[in-house]
Subunit: 344 residues, 2 copies
């Protein structure tokens, strides 16, 4: 391939892309090149689930020089995160790339590197896919299995159940605060935050541990407020959050420098945590089980008969992004969004 990385996909054409880029990478995958990708052989009774999501422009690609690696990584994570919310084990990912003809082989390889690295990190793989030319769009579908009866849903919760936030929120938006000069940290801490922001992971292990314990679950794709509100609506309930949250140490420092409460940063998105709904009597054992597997978890509140969303004694004024609206993140500018979202 040496010397050909600067070639454009439109110069190669579909057959050479297949032969020179995809075959060397995926040729060993059973089913490569067939009309349908092979996911897995399943021998035990299973509930099968699937989820599909397209990748927005990664925030990190706005903060620094864009790299399709990050888009590829994010594409896999956002889909695997939905499997995590179902408590499912992933069987594979199928990808669907629409790319401009002007995309270079180097850029394309970075995209594939990102998706493959993320899949590897999560113990799964790209099983197959499709590619076509057009305005850029990256879509994937993740397929998974659950043991019968263990599948987590948004519904199934009762008033009084506790809300657990699984994962470590705040890395992406802390990175944004650091990159835009709103906070400063020593280089090592800043680098670590940047790396975490570039490589968010799905809570697959946590989801599988929660299956059977949790009454409901949902991933945090549009921020904590939107997630809790949706979980409440799915169960005809409201929620009371405490507004307290212990951020990872360097994030707490970033928040403090920006005059933000830890809970403000904990409400942001991009870190692909889960909100799990757990019976009061199960909270301790769930927390212990997750922490034993090095999964971060904190109780953040309670589902309530009262359909309002409250933080402490006041209405919870959270952040929510909505598609097909003027405030849609997908149409937003980082500079204004940081102010809108975090008031800084």
């Amino acid at each position: 391939m040496s010397g050909s990385f600067e070639q454009r996909l439109g110069d190669l054409g579909e057959q050479r892309i297949q032969r020179e880029v995809l075959q060397p990478r995926y040729g060993g995958t059973e089913g490569f090149g067939d009309d349908s990708a092979f996911l897995a052989k399943v021998d035990t009774p299973s509930e099968l689930v699937a989820t599909t999501d397209s990748c927005p422009t990664p925030v990190v690609n706005i903060l620094r020089e864009p790299d399709l690696f990050h888009a590829g990584w994010l594409l896999a994570t956002i889909n695997l995160s939905d499997l995590a919310a179902a408590g499912a084990e992933p069987l594979g990912l199928v990808v669907n790339y629409t790319l401009p003809k002007t995309t270079t082989v180097r850029e394309f390889e970075r995209l594939l590197d990102g998706v493959d690295a993320c899949c590897h990190e999560h113990g799964t793989k790209v099983a197959g896919g499709d590619i076509r030319d057009g305005a850029g769009q990256l879509t994937a579908t993740a397929i998974g299995r659950c043991a019968p009866g263990s599948r987590l849903r948004r519904s199934g919760a009762k008033a009084g159940d506790r809300l657990l936030l699984v994962g470590s929120p705040g890395y992406l938006w802390a990175a944004a605060l650091l990159e835009t000069g709103r906070a400063t940290l020593p280089a090592a801490a800043r680098d670590e935050i940047w790396q975490r922001a570039c490589r968010p992971t799905a809570q697959l292990k946590a989801g599988q541990l929660l299956a059977g314990y949790a009454r409901a679950a949902m991933d945090v794709s549009d921020g904590l407020f939107a997630t809790v509100r949706t979980l409440g609506e799915a169960n005809g309930l409201g929620a009371a959050v405490t507004g307290e949250f212990e951020l990872d140490e360097p994030l707490a420092e970033v928040a403090a420098q920006c005059g933000l409460r830890p809970f403000d940063l904990a409400q942001t998105w991009g870190d692909w945590g889960l909100v799990a709904v757990v019976r009061t009597e199960d909270v301790k054992v769930v927390e212990k089980t997750l922490r034993a597997e090095s999964v971060a978890v904190q109780e953040i509140g309670t589902l309530t008969e009262d359909k309002r969303l409250t933080e402490g004694t006041a209405p919870w004024r959270g952040i929510a992004q909505e598609r097909f609206s003027a405030s849609s993140w997908h149409g937003g500018e980082l500079s204004t969004l940081l102010t809108e979202v975090l008031g800084v």
Copy 2:
């Protein structure tokens, strides 16, 4: 909903689209609204397959007033057709729509009607999906299961194996010839061709019947030539086609009026047939089995040690469309393509 069909998705916003359009239609589907869609419970050992494809602009939407119903129908068919080529039984479809904010509710409902009608026709359903605003793109993923060991692949064929064309080719391009005035037929015949062109079906039943009999299979998505060439390449073989084909009666008439041989029209795409590779000794029983289920099938040639593609005694000069190239259909104009493809 009365009176609101002319509203635009951008005026509704994501939440109202969910509540007013998607919930009434899909609210009864288990898993609707969850992070992951529920596909099926599988109780017997299975090989699971998946395929993903985006929908090009349907040719019928260029020939007459565009209707998103046709795009929805086609989106489902092209994905189910890949399952058919694997001999799989469909478990469900997950859809991923990127639509402009200016899309009206009426247009969106037509799209959903088309996908749902096609899924129903094929005995499957939309299990879930995602929607976002942006430049229009319709993508879907179909997931299916095969009995262990029965899954059809492109590879597995031997020289001397016979090529069977399953399905009735030529409807889409006959419609194009009729609509552009290159041929004329009585209204009833013309209507029937138009209907078939608008509602191509995937050969799911045929694929499942072929599983276990056929040595290899592939669907005809880019024309017969490209399909046979790819099947040959996947097996290190060439092919000798006879160049003879018996079209359905009204299509034969269209071909004749245009000075085309039946085999010319049989080489076009858009009708989602399969090419199945079958051992010589199995041809009769396969043909009988398929015809007993009202599936059209004709032998078209033989795979050969000689890697060339021949038609009769001459090289086969077929039609192939290739993505990421100047001749890509997705960038083509119907008026020039009819001439390029069929020479008329």
